[in-house]
Symmetry: C2
Subunit: 142 residues, 2 copies
DNA sequence: GACACTCTACTACAGCGGTCGTAGAGTGGC
DNA sequence: GCCACTCTACGACCGCTGTAGTAGAGTGTC
């Protein structure tokens, strides 16, 4: 158990990762061109972030095409989101109450959402998970 | 309308703010001594963070006692939490789905929580908010 | 084999955040 | 009025992030 924290991604990194999760495996060039024009940084900016993501273990090199390196995600979007959410809950002292309360007040959560979630929860309670962690494609390769 | 974004607080800043929210008005010294021993940084570290919080508008000076400055929160804990949550949702592309899904899977959300939230939601729907923003004690004093 | 083009590798830099030290000003006690 | 103590004011440093430029290596085409 213990740490297995995964990778913490910043907003810009997440932007890049989103492209990879969409494209699968891709070159820096492809990713850069896939970014929405409004927030499309210079090629080398994307390149730098991609390299840092590789160092962090969020991307991995898979092959070369011409002289271009092709990368693919080494973590799932879900895992990345999990990390973000866990960090947030940590900041909120581990309580989900303020979170839920805010979601409701801001109208970001509808009754429908709730109902769906609720039914999932009930299903889960009758059929609890095994380990607790639920690792899948986390990437623990050093 | 428009921005009204409030203040973005980091983990360390939040730690300090927690002390202020607990203590009300306090000096740097009081805050530092109130921090749990494990994560109690040097006095000047707390001081620096407090000053930065004042610049950000999260704290304000209220008086002096001896030669010590007394600060108090200029934003509510709720507002700070709101900001954190909004930022997260933004990172999740505005969708609360992954958030809810994760909360359930991680067991951080119980059926009880859900039920409570649900009843609040229903109450709200029959009695919608007035302005939309719902500002309270946000602190817009220059 | 030379050229144009692309990609990599490296470097740079500014801003923020976390951390702290030091010098000097202010204050209270005697 | 002097001293010890406390607090402020300021500066410093490092790591991370966002952003980008430049030099040079690699590649495909003639």
């Amino acid at each position: 158990m213990i740490l297995r924290k995964g990778v913490r991604l910043t907003k810009a990194e997440l932007e890049i990762m989103n492209a990879f999760w969409e494209l699968g495996a891709a070159s820096v060039r492809e990713v850069q061109e896939n970014l929405p024009a409004r927030k499309r940084p210079a090629y080398t900016t994307v390149q730098t972030v991609v390299y840092r993501l590789e160092e962090k273990g969020a991307l991995r090199k898979v092959k070369r095409v011409g002289n271009a390196q092709i990368f693919e995600p080494a973590i799932t979007q879900k895992a990345a989101h999990r990390r973000l959410i866990d960090d947030l809950i940590d900041l909120l002292d581990g309580s989900t109450r303020p979170l839920m309360a805010h979601l409701i007040e801001s109208g970001k959560l509808s009754l429908e959402d709730l109902r769906e979630v609720e039914s999932r929860l009930m299903k889960q309670e009758s059929e609890p998970p095994e380990g607790g962690a639920g690792a899948s494609a986390e990437g623990k390769a050093g």
